[in-house]
Symmetry: C2
Subunit: 259 residues, 2 copies
């Protein structure tokens, strides 16, 4: 049975997609079999893993709304050993289409349980969430056992963290008792400015061991890679960003006792 | 009658809040009377203008769902000449609470029309939207005459622009024929990296005159200011970020023929 990790934070632009893509690639590079689920209507994780918009015939929308099989939607990515359920703007109508379904928050979880056989071929399922605590993110939190929280080293991002923690606790208490916070990852850390160091100090004081030792630096190669439809680990595996994500993968495997 | 501008982009972290706060402050600094509407459940614009979470007794939620008067919700900000309808996480239930209301996309527009007398005391109404094309953003696009689009100089942000333009066109054709794209503002521009220049070139080629001449540079003072609950224009008005927003305000006034 794969470990299911939702990468979530309702604050926008904190590095959810960049973390999901590069962490998944680093895990695939050390032999883990990965299923990526893009559940953001923006479809950035799909783009960043080499799936063009024309190639997204079946998407996560078809899983959630039409009840199609994961096996029929999953397609290859540019990364060997990693499959993806791609996303496109169809997903933005899910709130409305599932409104009257009493199990609307369980659609992803139900699909996982129904297709446990197919999923057993993977070691990790990673879900890239949109910047919102909407039905798509809630479905991910209900279906996952772990939440990874990318936290940009900025004040507004820090302000939103307590709201996110409250929402995770609500999901755990009401629907998914198995849900745990796997960790908080500091992203876009800039050595040169005090704000980054202040945020790090504040977060480590408040969340202690939950905060990964590995910090992701601000690194332009991470933001260039998507324009070549490649993860940074393939675009420039020696860059500071890529090295940081490889370290993050190693630290994650230790936390998951998967070494 | 005030000019109503929605600051929108479903891509997260592109500088919507930073632009709304500092543009509004720059307009207030040259004598324009401003009503800021924070319609994002994160409430970042409220924080950045000095309204603490304890002081948000009445919010934009009360306007949209309970039909309270704008006059009863509006409160002072740290900026003379600027009032705000603050926001908090109550707003995130608006989609569900208004689901069965046939006029759910018109709630903000209807409130504006009902309270045109109160609104006439303002020159500009600026609306800070969440990172989503949900009911809150649609309400803003229906109530506004102008949309200002902050565009981060990054690949994923560029990818999302065509989706945003489609949504704006849909709103214009179905509900709000007066809606125009006031402009696209390049944000977090970094002189030192090619990606910023590539994005600028691409956007100016595709959107021509819509793109503001003024470019907002990446500037740490802009991201430090919110931790002091101040707009950058007050926190450090000589910084490159503040100067850029003052130029943006001047350019906006020219475009609005309000000089
Ligand atoms: N460590 C980093 N250094 C430099 N740029 C980065 C880094 N991490 C992410 N970026 C860039 O910053 C932008 C925001 O990152 P990303 O899109 O991954 O965030 P997100 O949280 O997924 O955004 P959204 O909320 O829209 O889903 C992107 O353009 C990305 O390329
Ligand atoms: N020009 C800039 N230079 C440096 N930092 C900036 C700049 N503009 C915004 N920031 C910082 O980048 C982060 C994202 O900006 P901001 O929160 O304004 O974006 P947003 O589009 O409103 O995000 P969301 O999608 O979550 O609403 C914030 O921490 C902000 O302080
Ligand atoms: Mg993303
Ligand atoms: Mg914002």
């Amino acid at each position: 049975e794969p470990k299911v990790i939702a990468v979530a934070n309702q604050k926008g632009g904190v590095g959810k997609t960049t973390t999901t893509i590069n962490l998944a690639t680093a895990l695939a590079a050390v032999g883990r079999r990965i299923l990526m689920i893009d559940i953001d209507p923006q479809g950035n994780a799909s783009t960043g893993l080499g799936v063009s918009t024309q190639d997204r015939e079946k998407t996560t929308y078809d899983l959630l709304v039409s009840g199609e099989d994961i096996a029929d939607i999953a397609q290859e990515t540019i990364v060997p050993g990693m499959m993806i359920l791609p996303a496109n703007s169809d997903l933005s109508s899910v709130d409305i289409e599932l409104f009257s379904d009493k199990r609307r928050v369980m659609r992803l979880k139900d699909a996982f349980e129904k297709q446990a056989d197919y999923l057993s071929q993977y070691d990790y399922v990673l879900i890239d969430c949109p910047p919102s605590l909407n039905l798509l993110t809630i479905n991910s939190l209900v279906a996952a056992k772990h939440v990874l929280v990318p936290l940009q080293c900025e004040f507004f991002a820090l302000e939103g963290l307590s709201q996110l923690m409250l929402s995770i606790r609500e999901v755990r208490q009401s629907i998914n008792p198995a849900l745990t916070i796997q960790g908080v990852v500091l992203t876009m850390f800039d050595q040169r400015n005090n704000l980054s160091r202040d945020v790090e100090k504040d977060v480590r004081e408040n969340f202690g061991e939950l905060v990964y030792k590995t910090i992701i630096p601000r690194n332009v190669r991470l933001s260039e890679a998507p324009s070549f439809s490649l993860p940074a680990l393939i675009y420039d595996h020696r860059s500071a960003g890529s090295v940081a994500y490889q370290k993050l993968a190693a630290e994650l495997l230790q936390r998951m006792k998967d070494t």
